[in-house]
């Protein structure tokens, strides 16, 4: 028997929350919709109630492709509910307190970001150059706060071709009066010598203090380590997840399709087709500059075969803790080993 909680659809609620307020992050939205579920729940017994919440969080997790930060929120809330379920005197009042607590969490979640921003500001030195990756609300907020505090610094932001988050970041930062340059994802190594620190957000922070973030963070961390530059991660503590990945392929977002090699004969055919165009283009318009020819072929490649391979490209990667200098969280500035301590406190 499944629990169809009176035509209340958690997933739809979650999605509408995200659409209505773009500043909301995934775990907070997840908790908010779980609270909404409690409100609608007609469960009469404890176990029915718990099952319905578990069921709903499972549904939420499977509804999106990249569920890492979402599951952090769901797990935190589930943990909170189970922990409080022992001393229930009256079921209805207990449900009410859960709803109140959940509400206040959503309110506090915003304050978290401000707290982190304040803590991170002293790390940004006057006259420094900061490299950031894609778009992260909390990183943008931190940099905005630093600018408000009259720090003068410049920002390089990677374009992050998959989501175009870098362009979004650049807009926000430029509006705050911070000189910002968008660079190619492939140019991280090129600019690293001009950079004083690297700052990234997080989808999730895992048990060993490692980081799950938008694809490209890992290589950025490696480059930063090689160049001896500090690599700081910025994350709200509700993004801490109970995962212990040992490599990139341990993440729950990884599946057999990710970066799989395509069927050889199919691929080979399309390649041949492409090669034909490549050889023809320069002869047909030999007067055209080499750069236009290049961009034409690049465009052509994109239309013919990219569709399929884009779909199987990973969205996130895992950065092991030894590449991370410090984590700025609302619990304070932590070393990567401090993260596991916080998680143990919660799940002990």
């Amino acid at each position: 028997m499944t629990f169809k909680d009176d035509n209340f659809d958690v997933v739809a609620n979650y999605k509408s929350l995200l659409i209505n307020s773009p500043e909301l992050s995934m775990p907070v939205a997840a908790i908010e919709s779980l609270v909404e579920l409690i409100k609608h729940s007609k469960a009469t017994t404890m176990s029915e109630f718990m099952l319905s919440i578990k069921d709903a969080s499972q549904k939420l997790k499977s509804s999106v492709r990249n569920s890492i930060s979402l599951s952090a929120g769901c797990d935190l809330f589930l943990r909170f509910v189970t922990r409080n379920s022992q001393d229930v005197a009256d079921f209805e009042t207990w449900k009410k307190t859960l709803i109140i607590r959940g509400r206040s969490f959503v309110e506090k979640a915003d304050a978290c970001r401000y707290k982190i921003a304040e803590m991170g500001v002293p790390f940004i030195k006057d006259g420094s150059v900061v490299l950031i990756h894609a778009h992260s609300r909390v990183v943008s907020l931190l940099l905005q706060k630093a600018a408000e505090n009259h720090k003068r610094f410049k920002v390089f932001v990677t374009e992050s071709s998959q989501t175009q988050g870098g362009i979004r970041s650049a807009k926000v930062l430029r509006a705050a009066g911070i000189p910002t340059t968008i660079i190619l994802d492939a140019a991280v190594g090129y600019v690293i010598d001009k950079v004083d620190m690297v700052l990234v957000g997080a989808e999730g922070v895992v048990e060993n203090g490692g980081l799950i973030n938008q694809i490209g963070s890992y290589q950025m961390a490696i480059v930063a380590k090689a160049a001896n530059k500090p690599f700081y991660a910025v994350a709200e503590s509700y993004k801490f997840v109970r995962l212990f990945p040992l490599n990139q392929y341990d993440l729950p977002t990884y599946n057999a399709d990710t970066l799989s090699f395509q069927e050889l004969n199919v691929d080979y055919d399309s390649k041949l087709n492409d090669d034909g165009t490549v050889t023809r283009t320069p002869t047909a318009s030999s007067s055209a500059s080499p750069s236009t020819a290049l961009s034409q072929t690049a465009l052509h490649m994109k239309t013919s075969e990219d569709q399929a391979s884009q779909g199987s490209n990973p969205l996130v990667d895992y950065t092991p803790p030894n590449y991370i200098t410090l984590l700025f969280t609302d619990l304070g500035v932590l070393t990567p080993s401090g993260v596991s301590d916080e998680l143990i406190k919660l799940y002990l």
Partner: protein, 356 residues
Amino acid sequence: MSKNNEMVDDLVAKLKRRQLVGSSTVAQATLRLLIVVISKSNWTTCNQLLTLVKSVGQRLITANPTELAVGNIIRRVLHVIREEFREAESSASNQNQSEFHSAPLTTSSSMYNLLGETGSTPDDNVQYPSSLRSNIIQEIREIKDELENIYDNIKNQASLQIHSNEIIMTIGRSKTVEEFLKMAAVKRKFQVLVAESAPSYSGQEMALELSKAGIETTVIPDSAVFAVMSRVNKVILGTHAVLANGGLVAISGTHMMAAAAKHHSIPVVVCTGLYKLSPLYPYDEDSFNVTFNPDSVLGFEEGDLIEKVTVTNPYYDYVSPDFVNLFITNQGGHPPSYLYRLIVENYDPNDHTFDL
């Protein structure tokens, strides 16, 4: 009250004029002052006392911001005060409303608090037992005892760290390292190389003290550190302060020695009392440094040269935590990655900065 102010002014002046230097002396002076301030002033609530201690602390810290031990001691005392008040409060509320309030499962900063109730600020209306004042003073005296016996706890670990016929290298003069090596010399025979630590030459004094204790000691110039490093078994360092990430603020030349040790994969051990552990982070590498009189680098005798060059004499180095393998503290040996834990245990997260 005015008597208290006089004492605070006195210590502030001494810190400003650098009549009082060295983390150990500064820490003890701070603690003595705080005991007097707390026992002689009027306060009834937790917030009053916290504000009082914080305001004294603020003045001492601004007097000499590079003596991080002052801030550490004040944070320790604030932590003790909070704990005592919390205890007094819970025992008071226990009498009133039995077992409804279960003991908090976690320390104050935790993810769980995000969902749980907002951290309860100490209630000002509770009637505190009269023993509270003496309890707090008692706890602070315990910190004082700890400070006085700090070398004993550190040096007891000496024979575990130093083995027979080893060659140890150190730099500068550190009372902690001196005691540590002397203790080891009681049981073991080993050799010590001391970098002379120009321009203060405190390494020479260190070497003299060690050789008086019968340890085979050699002074080497600072520039020879790398050259002899390959023969060394262990580098043992003292430090002025330990920062929250495990970085050191130590006498200049330490960074060079630690880097040379890392190049040869030689373990670097730092001996330090926990009162030197600060919850602050090295926001930038010069933030806790001081520059001294450059006379010892380039004296006035060199008149015409002095006009043409800038001479600086930084006293400290910042050494990043990846150069350190082990901290020997009065609470045992810890790797740099564990220091955050000690900070959580010893200081309240609200006290990392003194916002009144």
